[in-house]
Symmetry: C2
Subunit: 418 residues, 2 copies
């Protein structure tokens, strides 16, 4: 069987499973999630053994320390994954909710029912926990899922997928509702991207390169997630102590995540006052600051920024800094260089706060708070499958509801149209 | 300038216009719509002259009568288009609505604000009224739009687009918020489909061939609209008189539209009783019936259906007919051959009505009513840009709200994340 045939066969099974999943009760879905959690804990030794193989291969390839950290599992991480499953089980099931049911003048009652999307493909990189987290969200939202993890995690993923399939079957769900692509051949992804007859949605999770490839080649609708070149704009009227604390938090509390701040914009009227303050705060965390000329003139510990710095998602202890003439320049800069993820203004000026909220084009816009809050748990949605930085279907953190569609249900008494 | 350069230049202008449109007041947008309506009426002679050129060319090409009908404009149709603009002006503006604002435990107030999508591309065929209808919906929803009409309507469309641009400018909107692609070269569409940097959404309006081409080639998110292979299932317990009237209405009230019924499924226990009744009703309208063997045995005026008939959207006075064993076979048939548009059951059985609503996978599912109701006006959404038969972003009739996205707005008091 060729890779294409193999992938199509899997996709066919996923489609059949999706039809069954759409009508599985919440109780059964939750039972499946609890069973998987128990299964992972019971068989943690097998998982760790499989993970050890992946780790050894990765070490031999001299992959980075950060990469190895993402790939590795231990008892605690497995416990964490099992906890995550229980959390998803405890979330409300969105399927079957009826939204906005109205009676029309002709007596028809028309409502929108929340239904699963169908078959979801997830393409991701080294983290094996994504295998379980993504499966859990897809199961709870009544979808079936095809998982394609990074080749470096193949042994871990196979073991995890095996445990998932066994346990969802025990709970009365179709075993094929969760399928892992077994080959690590890169052709498999190429083929998967063409299967718009079978898949309803693709979510790439990973770096910009992966996401761009999927967007460019896919015939299946894609939701872009993740890349965050997030800004903090400190307005003329800002409470400078608040601005410093928010910037410190947004930059240094977890620099490797997408909602961390990458760039600081400062109103020129407060630049001389604020820059020395923020340099002091950030230097405590060894943050490298790359600034424009005005900034460097104010504080010579700031390095010169290049044009390319305004585009960068450092994901590291580095921040770019630009002094702007006014709110308008700040908004224009953000709309030009931002990635439509999370953007914040620190201000005491009412009009400016409203203009920023209205005119900045991003998934989440903040007044007087750290950009670090953009995620499903912090927004009250529960676990999330990613943060959408595009405008179609879902924007911002994607929880269970964002993995659903709707259908109109219409109750009549024999109505015909004139 | 090459066609690619020309299209990119237009797209750049559309993107700038979209940024401006997002912050235009409802009053100005409505004023633009009223001004366009007045402009169309004032300059109807010019429009009719341009349309005459298109009609002459089309006649010389021996295009079908139905095609010529779709292409042609007259005073009444222009009045109708102008009325449509006023109706859109009278709809509530969705932009700026705040949905689900909540206060989180840490005091952050998080809400979802409705915002425009950005730049929308509409690719359509012969009907020049789409030029105005689509522009109106995009203007009201704060988007900018790039229109690509069929080459046969180019003179009509150019005149209409000219009147639109002049009048939106007069109302204080960016003139480039509505742009028509001026060339009729087919390469223009090919180029347009690659511009995912500029366009946020593409909506093809037309036949299956156009839609498939756009889905296959586009890098921009696409919403598929229109194709409707709609079924009526007459259950064992149906009120047969109601079933006959609903079928008559769904098939014959306007056979050329997507929500017309194309296929009739009949429970075997009532087939002998119902088939002669429905043959009588449909024969009044000269409807050709293509049935399976059981049906043909019951009434020999029914022609033999071929396997391919189950797939067909006739858009004509033809209907396919199949006798099924039970509800389950009906649901499976619909989920196999349907196009996920509109599907109806006629039944007095409560359990079956619920199973049909839950298990049939379509944009709109009906109990005891004609499928003909699936459109924006009948569903209470007002004018629509099409009926989405896919599950992402929007499903069913797409009104103004379906042309929007959301962004999270977050009001803080200095919150930082631990």
């Amino acid at each position: 069987m060729s890779i294409r045939e193999e992938i199509i066969k899997q996709a066919e099974k996923s489609k059949i499973a999706a039809g069954q999943m759409a009508n599985i009760s919440t109780e059964k879905k939750n039972s499946a999630l609890y069973k998987i959690a128990a299964g992972l804990l019971e068989r943690s030794e097998e998982i760790l053994e499989a993970n050890k193989k992946d780790m050894e291969k990765a070490k031999n390839k001299n992959l980075s320390k950060a990469f190895l950290d993402r790939l590795s599992l231990d008892e605690n991480r497995i416990k964490g994954i099992a906890e995550g499953l229980k959390e998803v089980a405890e979330l409300a099931d969105p399927i079957g909710d009826i939204l906005e049911m109205n009676r029309r003048p002709n007596g028809l009652q028309i409502g929108k029912m929340r239904v699963p999307l169908g078959v979801i493909g997830i393409i991701y990189e080294a983290r094996p926990n994504v295998t379980v987290d993504a499966a859990a969200l897809c199961i709870k939202s009544g979808n079936s899922v095809i998982l394609r993890g990074g080749s470096s995690a193949i042994n871990s993923n196979k073991k995890l997928a095996e445990i998932i399939s066994e346990n969802i079957k025990k709970a009365g769900l179709p075993a094929k509702a969760v399928q892992l692509i077994q080959t690590t051949d890169r052709k498999a992804v190429k083929e998967l991207l063409t299967l718009n007859e079978y898949l309803d949605l693709l979510i790439p999770r990973g770096g910009a390169e992966l996401i761009n490839r999927v967007v460019n080649e896919s015939k299946i609708p894609v939701i872009q997630t993740g890349v965050g070149n997030c800004h903090i704009f400190v307005d003329e009227s800002a409470d400078l102590q608040m601005a410093a604390k928010i910037t410190e938090n947004a930059k240094t509390s977890r620099p490797a995540v997408c909602n961390a701040a990458e760039s600081l914009l400062i109103h020129e009227n407060i630049a001389e006052d604020f820059i020395p303050k923020i340099v002091k705060v950030l230097s405590k965390h060894q943050v490298e600051i790359r600034g424009d000329k005005t900034a460097v003139n104010i504080d010579d510990s700031i390095k010169d920024a290049e044009e390319s710095d305004w585009d960068k998602e450092y994901l590291d202890y580095i921040i770019s800094l630009k002094v702007v003439d006014d709110l308008e320049e700040a908004i224009n800069h953000i709309n030009k260089y931002g990635t439509r993820h999370s953007e914040a203004i620190v201000t005491e000026n009412y009009t400016n706060s409203q203009r920023f909220l209205n005119e900045v084009d991003a998934a989440a816009v903040y007044v007087n708070a750290s950009t670090r809050f953009t995620d499903g748990n912090m927004f009250g949605l529960g676990a999330e499958i990613g943060i959408s930085t595009q405008k179609m279907h879902a924007r911002g953190p994607m929880g269970l509801k964002e993995l659903t569609s709707t259908k109109y249900v219409v109750y009549g008494q024999g109505q015909r149209r004139e």
